[in-house]
């Protein structure tokens, strides 16, 4: 069957499944809309959290980035998994014990202050909208390829689908749909990886294949890859450091702390029945995430190797442009892959030197989607990957939009400005907020600040510098007061935003970057994507100094902190 038709069928069937589940579980009351009645089993919750968590950045973008960064791409692998350790040990069980709906609600109560709650809402919205921009980039890439249209058209269609999808169901719809989405996305990721690993190394486990030898030879795959790259003048794959080890350290730290500071993930742990389930739920989530994350490095290295041998089938003999394979023609249509025959020899030279390199544009975000085509896998595998990429992007976008809309309708409207609002009005406000967020993120997605995973890394930096320190200090320091927490959040996100905007442009519009993205102006050589860790340190420092200089929190708050530290007496998640 033709690829296009097959893709429509597979994508259509999975969508029908998700929408079917969403309708079946259609949210009735506000409580169900936000937390699914607090009765989700830890394994099921772990699986849904994994789907929620693994976005277009993980599925579509990450392996492609690693393919071109080599060892330097490790920051994503460690950063996006190690955060779960922080989450399980420092936040999840305590927030579950506290037993409310949203992250700003905890901050507002713990710091006995509406101002703290509003600041938390603003930080949450800034981080989440940035995150959704990254998803939109991924969705745009996927749709543009499979509908064979330009990236911008693909993005517009994607926005419409995300809107319809997120507004339909609340958390409950999302929890069960996300379990279905996890299954689709993990199959879609691992099946092609297994095929490719078998092709190249003869080992069906990609994790082992990556450390194994090339099929029918005793050369290790990674040594072969290093060799090929050295010969064409590129940096060696396994030792290619991203800027500097300091930068990699901070980048990893920023992603880890951000993981534990992102509201749409934290909110997941409000939905388990017990405190002890919150701990193991984080573990289960990471098991399901690790399935993809330990496969990704193999996908990356093998995709790079396959790409190199497509462009240069035998050493010194480059691909003839007119004989290029179909997948290249397909991606050229989207505007995300481009060639320019600079020396007019009809062949495509691919080199690290900008003057002679003729593969002038290769958007990293196309690699995972193109990978099965490059490896000449059967059409149904390619169709499955399309469905998986969309599942990843949609599930995360929906979870984030829910976090944004609940922050606006529940925390701002009901919690602060209009406490007498009815449930119906609250639901309507939250749906309006979702539409607004999709519009803004989609609009900024036409001109994204980075590849999908890079944009998402920025969002993590923003969450790391604002939300995580406030939550952690709220649990681990009885002395932390509202003045300290508010000053810390503002200082942390302020310094991070300032650093990001001065290099990437205000609201990521490149022409407004007042320092340009110039490495020589980077603080300690740390790139903007990695700056969240510095912001977080700044947040902690400012908060401690301010708290020292101001009055201790009132008695009942200190009791509240003591209370959330022990599991006994946790009820189900409750409304006010």
């Amino acid at each position: 069957m033709e690829l296009q038709t097959l893709t429509y069928m597979v994508v259509g069937a999975t969508f029908a499944l998700y929408i079917g589940i969403a309708i079946w579980a259609r949210a009735g009351s506000t409580k169900e809309f936000y937390v699914a009645g607090g009765g989700v089993h830890p394994v099921a919750n772990g699986m849904a959290t994994a789907a929620d968590w693994m976005s277009a950045a993980s599925f579509i973008s990450m392996a492609g980035l690693i393919a071109f960064m080599g060892y330097g791409g490790s920051v994503f692998l460690m950063g996006w998994t190690g955060g779960y350790v922080l989450l399980a040990m420092l936040l999840a069980p305590y927030l579950r014990k506290f037993g409310k709906f949203t992250v700003p609600e905890f901050i507002g109560d713990r710091y006995y202050s509406k101002a703290a709650r509003i600041v938390a809402v603003l930080c949450l919205i800034i981080a989440s909208v940035t995150y959704v921009i990254g998803q939109m980039k991924g969705i745009g890439v996927a749709f543009s390829r499979f509908l064979e249209v330009d990236y911008n058209v693909g993005l517009s269609i994607g926005m419409g689908i995300v809107f319809f999808y997120a507004v339909m169901g609340g958390m409950k719809g999302i929890t069960y749909t996300q379990i279905a989405q996890y299954c689709v996305l993990i199959l879609a990721y691992t099946i092609p990886a297994i095929f490719i690993s078998l092709n190249l190394t003869g080992n069906p486990f990609p994790q082992l294949g990556l450390g194994g030898t090339m099929a029918g030879s005793d050369v290790f795959l990674l040594d072969r890859l290093d060799q090929v790259l050295r010969d064409t003048g590129f940096a060696e794959y396994t030792t290619n450091v991203r800027l500097s080890l300091t930068n990699m350290f901070m980048y990893t730290m920023s992603l880890m702390i951000g993981t534990a500071g992102l509201p749409h993930v934290i909110i997941r742990f409000f939905t388990v029945p017990k405190v002890k389930d919150a701990r193991s739920s984080a573990g289960w989530a990471l098991v399901f995430i690790a399935l993809l994350y330990t496969t990704a490095p193999s996908v990356a290295a093998m995709a790079r190797l396959n790409l190199m041998s497509t462009i240069e089938p035998t050493p010194g003999e480059y691909m003839v442009y007119d004989e290029r394979p179909q997948w290249i023609k397909n991606w050229e249509q989207t505007g995300l892959l481009g060639f320019e025959d600079k020396n007019g020899d009809g062949r495509i030279q691919y080199t690290p030197d900008a003057a002679t390199n003729e593969m002038t544009k290769v958007d990293r975000d196309i690699m995972v989607l193109a990978n099965p085509e490059i490896a000449q896998l059967p059409n149904w595998v390619i169709a499955l990957v399309a469905a998986g990429g969309l599942a990843a992007a949609l599930s995360t976008a929906a979870g984030l939009l829910l976090a944004i809309s609940s922050a606006i309708s529940h925390d701002l409207l009901k919690g602060v400005f209009k406490p007498d609002i009815t449930e119906k009005q609250e639901l309507r406000a939250s749906r309006l907020a979702m539409a607004g967020a999709i519009g803004v993120a989609g609009y900024l997605g036409f001109n994204p600040p980075d590849f999908a995973a890079g944009t998402v890394a920025l969002a993590f930096g923003l969450a790391a510098s604002s939300i995580f320190p406030a939550l952690m200090m709220g649990i681990f320091s009885k002395r932390m007061n509202k003045e300290g927490a508010i000053a810390g959040m503002i200082a942390g996100i302020g310094v991070t935003l300032f650093y990001v905007f001065q290099h990437k442009g205000i609201m990521f519009v490149p022409s407004t970057a007042f320092l340009g993205s110039m490495p020589e102006n980077w603080f300690l050589g740390i790139e903007p994507n990695a700056f969240g860790a510095v912001g977080a340190i700044f947040n902690f420092a400012v908060a401690f100094i301010v708290a020292r200089l101001t009055a201790a929190p009132p008695e009942h708050i200190q009791h509240l902190v003591e209370d959330i530290r022990v599991p006994a007496g946790a009820g189900t998640a409750v409304a006010h």
Partner: protein, 83 residues
């Protein structure tokens, strides 16, 4: 209250141990010491590279379940379990 205080101290001690392991297997083995460790091979993997792209993730998973399990024990010992 003192019963809860000793529970909290035990918890903090456990968290500290876990955080050290977390730090060593990712930041130390995967980044800071990557170059010396790369001289050791694990099949086709250089060891530092393996920690950065595979090993650290396995350790994280094990670490969370270890923590959850030990905390469950602490909850029972200090009698602070949920009903």
């Amino acid at each position: 209250m003192s019963k809860n205080a000793s529970y909290w101290t035990a918890n903090l001690r456990l968290v500290a141990v876990c955080m050290v392991i977390w730090f060593v297997c990712s930041y130390l083995f995967g980044i800071v010491l990557v170059e010396p460790l790369n001289n050791i091979r694990l099949g086709g993997y250089k060891l530092g590279f393996w920690f950065a792209q595979q090993g650290s993730i396995y350790v994280f998973v094990a670490l969370i379940f270890f923590y959850a399990n030990r905390m469950g024990k602490l909850d029972r010992e200090h009698n602070v379990e949920e009903e």
